[in-house]
């Protein structure tokens, strides 16, 4: 089983004094994760609402046409 490479949590944070290079990369990874997943999830809700509004508009039009002719 691989063992923990750093002797303390502080050493882990310091990352062998490469912290300012390694941690930004993993932060950017988190950003990549979020931008890949979050926008479509939010977009989906917006699209569903949009389509719902469109359906209602169409039903009201159909209803008017119904009485019309």
């Amino acid at each position: 089983m691989p063992e923990f490479q750093f002797d303390s949590f502080a050493a882990f944070l310091a990352m062998g004094d490469y912290a300012i290079y390694v941690w930004p990369v993993y932060i950017l990874f988190a950003l990549f994760f979020v931008t890949t997943v979050l926008p479509p999830i939010l977009g989906r809700r917006k699209i569903i609402r949009q389509l719902k509004a469109r359906l209602e508009r169409m039903e009201s039009n159909m209803a008017e046409q119904g009485e019309g002719n």
Partner: protein, 250 residues
């Protein structure tokens, strides 16, 4: 096999396949990425030469792989759009592009952060970084071209043509940048190849993050494709029922 491929072409079947496979994908991706990141950061031995800075590689290599993989997948979809006129292929190609761009940006950022301690500057004209920068420009060209058209069908075919032209040019660009790099820079490459002197365990986290990236790619792809399917198939009955069911619940 053809039957399966043909069914993949129908938006409804693709949507439902996506719906069924998403939970599995989420579970696998989160597990793989969590293990890969923790193992890579905390438990993998440091590089004999570069010390802990080497841990950037667990993000750099998968994102580089995803950058190239996305482009080749877009090229396949583009061929399908132009030759067999499969509507679904355009939906998938449109979904892949943003993921490819973000992977390229992650690759460029991790590459330059990797280079700072070794070369003292944040941008080095290394062959792989430069050709990835050019690939980023080609990705942006495709995305910008798609938004320039108002009719969706011509946008789909135009982007398909540009993607195929791009996929023919990428190997040429890489070869010429490689040659150009040896001419101007000599040996300033990222120094990734000479990592063989490390114990094998250094590579194990890379498998986890690598497959985690692929899982993440498919999640993004399915989510974006589903949104696009809902928009493009909004007049069909099954989408109207789905919208009714979803909004009734909410």
């Amino acid at each position: 096999m053809w039957q399966w491929l043909y069914k993949l072409g129908s938006p409804r079947w693709f949507y439902e396949l996506g719906e069924r496979s998403l939970p599995w994908l989420w579970g696998a991706t989160v597990f793989l990425l969590a293990v890969g990141v923790v193992w890579g950061l905390a438990f993998a031995p440091p590089d004999y030469q570069m010390g802990d800075n080497y841990r950037i590689i667990y993000m750099h290599v998968p994102s580089a792989g995803l950058m190239k993989g996305c482009f080749y997948m877009m090229a396949i979809c583009s061929a399908a759009v132009l030759i067999w006129k499969i509507k679904m292929a355009d939906i998938v190609a449109k979904a892949i592009a943003p993921i490819g761009v973000m992977a390229t940006l992650l690759m460029l950022a991790s590459g330059s952060l990797w280079g700072i301690p070794t070369w003292g500057t944040w941008w080095i004209w290394d062959a792989r970084l430069t050709s990835s920068l050019l690939q980023f420009f080609i990705y942006m060209g495709i995305i910008v071209l798609r938004s320039a058209f108002d009719s969706q069908d011509s946008a789909a075919r135009a982007c398909a043509v540009l993607t195929l032209v791009g996929v023919v040019n990428i190997p040429i660009i890489e070869y010429s940048v490689e040659w150009w790099n040896t001419l101007h820079q000599g040996a300033s490459s990222l120094g990734m190849r000479d990592a063989s002197a490390n114990p094998p365990e250094i590579w194990i986290p890379a498998f986890f993050t690598g497959f985690g990236f692929i899982g993440l790619f498919f999640i993004g792809l399915i989510l974006r494709s589903q949104n696009e399917i809902l928009l493009r198939e909004r007049r069909t009955q099954w989408v109207r029922d789905l919208v009714a069911k979803e909004t009734a619940g909410a």
